[in-house]
């Protein structure tokens, strides 16, 4: 039995009829075409599928789309620094070579958004702790850490 849900994604409202078993990741990627969210394991370990639901980072492969009924979802496509420019965190990644294949990147960026709101000035250890929830198979993490440090600084510069 399909169910009708209303969900706001990146500020836009979608009303869709979906199977109750449809994963949020599949809904985002294949029902509404937001393919920036990636899927690496579908069992909640890799973090590639991380999106925000009501500003909280969640793994979209572990949620059903119907669970987001009436809620707000944010994906990497909605991340920008205003006027279509890159978000400061994205700038950090670009400047510091924080990505190689880029498959893990959207999930990492989305994990970082609430993290940096709560910890505008994180230590390396805090950054590594946060990142330990996301697997990157390409970079060895060092440049991701540097990217986050720069991103945090750029956010502060922007808001000051």
């Amino acid at each position: 039995m399909d169910q009708t849900i209303t969900v706001t994604v990146n500020g836009r409202e979608y009303e869709c009829s979906v199977e109750p078993r449809l994963l949020l990741s599949d809904f985002l990627r294949h029902e509404i075409g937001l393919t920036g969210t990636h899927v690496g394991c579908e069992h909640g370990v890799c973090g590639a599928c991380t999106v925000l639901v009501d500003n909280e980072a969640v793994r979209s492969c572990l949620l059903f789309a119907v669970q987001t009924n009436g809620r707000e979802v944010a994906t990497v496509e909605g991340l920008d620094g205003g006027a279509q420019a890159l978000h400061p965190i994205q700038h950090g990644f670009w400047e510091r070579h924080g990505l190689q294949c880029g498959f893990c990147t959207p999930g990492i960026l989305m994990s970082l958004v609430p993290f940096l709101q709560e910890n505008p000035n994180p230590t390396e250890e805090e950054i590594r702790d946060l990142l330990s929830g996301n697997i990157c198979r390409c970079t060895g993490y060092q440049k991701i850490v540097e990217a986050v440090q720069l991103g945090a600084r750029l956010i502060q510069e922007k808001s000051s």
Binding site: T35, A48, Q90, F93, Q100, Y141, K143
Partner: protein, 783 residues
């Protein structure tokens, strides 16, 4: 604007698309009327198939088709042998390659027996439950020595044994070396399997356009051109009717160059039959069985030395685990055989191996591709010799390094590219010294370690050398075009999986044409845009495709200067290319833009000189005479928690020589990522197969990939010994980070536990295994 682009840490052209979620990966392809495939895979590693009942699955609503081997008719063929056996004298070779769907018998867990195609992925997966296979389980063979033993179950009965190949290569005279030696040390070493675990699983979308009579395939492959050629041949199409696109790929590391995966041929076949696009995206569990793996080998090795530590010879006899089929020929064991010699003078070498079939997933190259084993054996032998002869670990290495004036250095055996193993260039001692300095070797040994050990800490240090044959042939090509916009477009056949080719290649071209790197647009991995090529493997992209780019760009530069000379009425030598313009040196007023020149080079009316080629464009190919030998040194300090046997890597140093560096930022990234994989391989990642060939840890919950808290910051530095074999002087760098890490861990752990005489002879390790080894060593048992 400075025109110096080559060698600069330029940020990447491809990143904005990746950072905003706009880059196209295979699973992002969405086509009208697209169907979805799912595969029924065997749970058993070895079994006869008596029958397969697909009735129920076919009747399920939303199912378009269900296929088993019997439905494939003539199309059912074992895959091609990608790499033929090498031209060495002492060789026995038995070709057995994978099949599209198992017929009669399955040979490894996860082998596909049926394909369901349905309106959605969910429906296709539902239908798998409705298929019934009548299997007769057979005993499985998983161990390497077991595979060679009398009475072993046979993976391919018709062979009468499990030997896929036997190869012997020799140099000098081992028997004599052994006879003359003051010391001969013999050891047995084990290396076990891991998986590449690219974050993106494999995937394919195949779409047949009936009206256009063309097949388009999006494929997570590292070798789109070879896939196109193979699919065309298998399906009876012209190569021009097949377009293979390798879009953005979420990590490759080797297994994505294996051809042909059953899914690749089956999806292309099915879309032709059904007239609708078909998509298949591997899930993570399938990736543990259906994507190729690597690293199972057992070595019996011996080293003969003089009393002063000079190596006289090495003898190595090893068994290589090929898995159930061996489509990649002997690339991996040959690499092990050839990498073992390292940066050392080894006058006599006798190396023989048997490649054996086992009831485990297929083995093909994974980052390092057999080099890990060679380095592990050599470095462990050196460590054992040092101990026995009471020479410092570093000193015994130093005494045996190939001197810088002996290049090209001929090792007298045949490498995986079938050319003689000749090192093109190298300068090993400065890299060793630099690594020792960066890690603080002497201070650590003399002061820090004794002080910390007195406080009850367990800390160890290690330093190991390696070489890496990179950048092998046959060839790659590139086409460079200056467009009327003044921007430059470049096409090449190699695919890219995150190595930054969009940027490093652009730097090579920008350097010649005098434009900004961001104005060079690179297209890789689309067979419609570049016809010829081999693929991304063996750390060869930058070397082989990079030099083809360079050659094409040089030629275009020549065309630009010639045409601009005519237009500006100046001698070519008096012109310079700056910021997208050609100008008379020092006279910016007398100049013309590249865009304008490009337009002039493509006149729409009037006559041109006979023999004129239109456009500012050139296509060039580069094929090196043989591979370029990169080298390096890794050093590490680690601390072991004496209670939990977990490790903390306190310091990690890489000093690497990959010839001329195109982009140091990208190079550092490659090294750091390689080391992280090496750390996983050494201490976290191991595929646990039980005696029935079932994989016990086929999920990322149970197969531990290193996370940000496991991987340390890496201090890296470079020595540059340009390769004389290519105009850019580059050597490959993609695999180096991963290669020596196992040997490094072993030495560091031995060092931390030298009081009890620990000697690590296997990789991967884990806290559990380390605990066992330490317990055995303290009890004085021989491990």
């Amino acid at each position: 604007m400075s025109t110096r682009q080559f060698g600069q840490p330029i940020k990447r052209n491809e990143d904005p698309r990746l950072l905003t979620g706009r880059a196209l990966f295979t699973d992002d392809v969405q086509l009208d009327g697209m169907l979805h495939a799912a595969f029924l895979r065997s749970d058993l590693a070895h079994a006869l198939i008596h029958s397969i009942d697909v009735e129920g699955a076919s009747r399920r609503p939303g199912v378009a088709a269900v296929y088993t081997a019997g439905d494939l008719g003539e199309f059912w063929q074992p895959g091609p042998l990608l790499v033929p056996p090498p031209p060495v004298e002492q060789l026995e070779f038995h070709q057995r390659t994978q099949v599209p769907l198992a017929k009669e018998k399955v040979r490894h867990a996860g082998e596909a027996v049926a394909m369901v195609i349905a309106e959605s992925r969910y429906l296709a997966e539902d239908a798998l439950d409705d298929i019934f296979v009548d299997y007769e389980p057979l005993d499985a063979v998983t161990g390497l020595e077991a595979a060679l033993s009398e009475g072993s179950p046979l993976v391919h009965e018709d062979l009468g044994h499990n030997i896929g190949a036997r190869v012997t290569q020799t140099k000098g005279n081992w028997t004599q070396a052994e006879a003359e030696a003051d010391l001969v040390i013999r050891r047995r070493f084990h290396y076990d399997r891991g998986t590449a675990a690219a974050l993106e699983n494999r995937g394919i979308v195949a779409s047949w356009d009936e009206k256009g009579q063309r097949l388009t395939v999006w494929d997570t492959t590292q070798a789109p051109i070879a896939i196109r050629n193979g699919l065309a041949a298998m399906l009876g199409l012209s190569e021009h009717q097949v377009r293979v696109i390798a879009p953005f790929i979420g990590g490759g590391f080797g297994p994505k160059i294996m051809m042909f995966y059953p899914e690749e041929v089956l999806l292309a076949w099915a879309t032709l039959l059904l007239g609708r696009p078909v998509k298949w995206i591997e899930d993570r569990e399938e990736n543990f069985y259906a994507t190729t793996q690597e690293r199972g080998q057992v070595h019996d090795a011996a080293i003969a030395l003089k009393g002063d530590g000079t190596i006289l010879g090495i003898k190595d006899s090893f068994i290589h685990d090929a898995g159930a089929y061996a489509p990649y020929g002997l690339t991996v064991p040959l690499s092990s055989q050839c990498t073992l010699l390292g940066p050392y003078v080894v006058p006599s070498y006798h190396s023989e191996f048997s490649s054996v079939f086992t009831n485990k997933p297929i083995v093909t190259p994974y980052r390092g591709a057999g080099r890990q084993h060679g380095v592990f054996v050599m470095e462990r032998l050196m460590d054992a010799a040092a101990k026995e002869l009471d020479i410092e670990l570093v000193e015994i290495r130093r005494r045996n390094l190939i001197p810088p004036d002996s290049f090209p250095y001929n090792n007298e055996i045949i490498f995986q590219d079938f050319t003689p193993l000749v090192y093109d260039s190298g300068n090993y001692e400065p890299a060793l010294d630099r690594a020792l300095q960066l890690i603080g070797y002497q201070e650590f040994i003399r002061e820090e370690q004794p002080r910390r050990e007195a406080n009850g800490e367990r800390v160890g240090i290690a330093v190991v050398n390696y070489i890496e044959g990179t950048g092998i042939g046959p060839y790659e090509g590139a086409r460079v075009t200056v467009e009327a916009s003044g921007k430059v477009s470049v096409a090449t056949g190699v695919g890219t999986q995150g190595q930054g080719h969009y940027t490093s290649f652009a730097q090579v071209v920008a350097e010649q044409i005098g434009v900004a790197v961001s104005d060079v647009h690179i297209v890789t991995g689309d067979t419609d845009l570049f016809y010829w090529g081999a693929g991304t493997f063996a750390s060869r992209g930058a070397v082989v495709a990079g030099n083809a780019m360079h050659a094409a760009a040089v030629k275009v530069r020549g065309k630009i200067l010639k045409l601009a000379g005519d237009k500006l009425e100046a001698a070519e030598e008096d012109l310079e290319l700056i910021a997208g313009r050609v100008q008379v040196k020092g006279v910016p007023e007398t100049s013309i833009s590249l865009g304008q020149l490009a337009a002039e080079a493509n006149p729409m009316r009037g006559a041109v000189q006979p023999g004129t080629e239109p456009g500012l464009e050139a296509t060039e190919y580069f094929g090196p005479e043989r591979g370029a030998t990169a080298s390096g040194v890794h050093a590490m300090i680690l601390r072991v928690d004496p209670e939990t046997f977990t490790l903390e890597i306190e310091k990690y140093v890489v000093v690497h020589d990959c010839g001329t560096v195109i982009n140091p930022l990208i190079l550092e990234g490659q090294i750091q990522g390689g080391v992280a994989q090496g750390i996983g391989n050494a201490f976290y990642e191991q595929l646990h197969f039980d005696e029935n060939g079932a994989l016990r840890n086929a999920s990322l919950m149970d197969y531990l990939l290193p996370t940000a808290t496991d991987v340390p910051n890496i201090v890296s530095d470079h020595v540059e010994t340009p390769s004389p074999l290519n105009p850019l002087g580059v050597k490959g760098a993609g695999e180096a980070g991963a290669i020596p890490v196992g040997a490094l861990f072993a030495q560091a752990l031995d060092n931390a536990y030298r009081d009890i005489g620990l000697e690590v002879r296997e990789i991967p390790l884990s806290p559990n295994r380390l605990f066992e080894l330490v317990t055995e060593a303290s009890a004085g048992e021989i491990v």
